[in-house]
Amino acid sequence: MFDEFYFLQQLINGLTVGSAYALIAIGYTMVYGIIGMINFAHGEIYMIGAYTSLIVITGLAALNPVWLPLVLLVALICAMIVSSSMGWAVERVAYRPVRGQHRLIPLISAIGMSIFLQNYVHLAQGSRNIGFPSLIDGGFTFGTSEGFQTTISNMQLTIFATTLVCMTLLSLFISRSKTGRACRAVSQDRKMSSLLGIDTNRIIAATFVIGAALAAVAGLLLGMYYGSIDPLFGFIAGLKAFTAAVLGGIGSIPGAMLGGLILGVAESFTAGYLSSEYKDVVSFSLLILILLFRPTGLLGKPEVEKI
C-alpha cells in the first residue's frame, strides 16, 4: 500500500543528503569547468573538513558552556579555512607543476594526493570510526496517528538552509563579482584571459579554494547528520558527488546542484522502497546510464558559438 507520508519521508531524507552532495559536486564541476580535469582529491578535502570541524567542536566543548550556534559557526569557519588551504595545496602540488602535460599525469598526481591525505588522517586520527555529536536535535512530526509519521528534523532543516545560503552566495559571486567573472572568462578561454592581464594561475587556484570551502561545509553538515566519521568518509561521498556533477552536466554549476538533489532522492527511494544495500548500485548505474545516453549531463550543453 502506498503511504504518502512514508514517501514524503524518503523525499525529505533524499533532499537532505542530496543538498550535501550538491555542495561537494560544485567543487568537481568548477575545477572541471576551468581546467577540464577532475580533482580526484576532492573527497579527501571534504573528509578533512569533517575532521576539522569535529576537532574544533570537541575543543570548544571543553570550554563548556558555550552558545551552540557560535560553536557551529566557529567550527564551520575553521573547517572552511583548513579545507581551502588543502584545496590550494592540491592545486599547487598535484596540478600546477604538471599542467600542459598529458591528461593522465595530473590525474595520477591527484590520486596520489588523495591517498596521501587519507593516510595522513589515518595516522593522525586513527582509522576507527569517531562519533560525531549531533548537536542539533528536535524536529517536526506530521502524519496520521495510525499510519507512518513523517519527521523533518532540525538537523535536516539546518542542512537545507545552509545549502541554500551557500548556493545563493556562490551564484552571486559567479555572476556579479569581478573574480567570478574572471572565473567564467578563464574557463571559456584561458589563453585570452592571460592576454588581458589576468593572472590565470590565481583564478585557477581560486576555483580549487572555493570548491574546497563548500566541501568543508558539506563535511560538517554530513558528519553531524550521519553521526560518525572515519578516514574513508570522503571516498564514497566523493564518488557520489562526482556522479552528481556528471549527472547534472560537468562544468555546469546549476547542473551540479540539480544532479546532487536527483542523486540523493534516487538513493533515498532505493533505500526506502527496495533495500539500502542497493543504494550505491542505483547511483552508479545512474552514472553509467548518463554516460551512455547523455554524456553532457542533464544541463550540460554544447557552447553557443558563431564564427
Binding site: K178, A185, D189, S194, D199
Partner: protein
Amino acid sequence: MLSLENIHTHYGKIEALHGVSVEVNEGEIVSLIGANGAGKTTLLMTICGDPQASAGRVLFQGEDITHKPTSDIMRSGIAIAPEGRRVFPGLTVEENLHMGGFFTSKDEIRRNQKHVFELFPRLAERKNQRAGTMSGGEQQMLAIGRALMAKPRMMILDEPSLGLAPLIIGQIFDIIRTLRDEGITVFLVEQNAKQALKLADRGYVLETGRIRLEDTGANLLDNEEVQQAYLGG
C-alpha cells in the same frame, strides 16, 4: 617604443622565428605583412610572452619584457586584439569589456567603456547580448573595444579584417586610424596587404621566419617584389 632584437622563437624543437628585429616608434602605425605560416602571429605572441623568445630581447618603453609572464606584460601598456578575435562567447558584451579592464579601477572601467561605446555604438546597442551570438564584424569590434578597456599605449591587432565583409573591413581600418589619432601606437598584422600598407607609416615583410623587407608603407606599396608576392601583381 617597442623593439624586438634578433628574436628567435621555438615551438618545441621547431624554430618559427630565425632572428627577427622590428622597431615600432611611438605614435606610428606599423604593419607586418606576410604569407600564411610566415610567423606573423608567432611574432606577436612572442611580444606577449606566450611563447617566450628562446633568444633575443623584447624591449617595451625601454624595459626588457622578454621573460616576464604574459599577464604582467599585458598590464604594462600593451593590449591585443588577437587572431580569431577570441571574445568570451558565454559572456555578455559588457562583461567582455569589463574583462578587458580587469586590472583597472571601477572609475576607469566606466570611463573607458563610455569611450568604447562612442567608438562602437553598435556595442552599446548589444550591451547585454552574449558575445558568441554576434556577427564576425561585431565580434571584431568587441575584441578591439575590449583591448581599449586597458587604456593601452600600444595596440596589437592580429588580422582584424579576416573573414569580414568589405564594408566592415573599411570601418575597422577607419577605427585603427582613429586609434592612432588618439595617440595609441598600432602594430598591425594583416593578410590584406594593400589596405594595411596604405594605412601604415612603416611596414615589414616577414617571410618564413625572417624579415625580408622593411620600409615606409608607401615605398612597400610601390615595391615590385611586394606587388608581385602580396598585392596580386
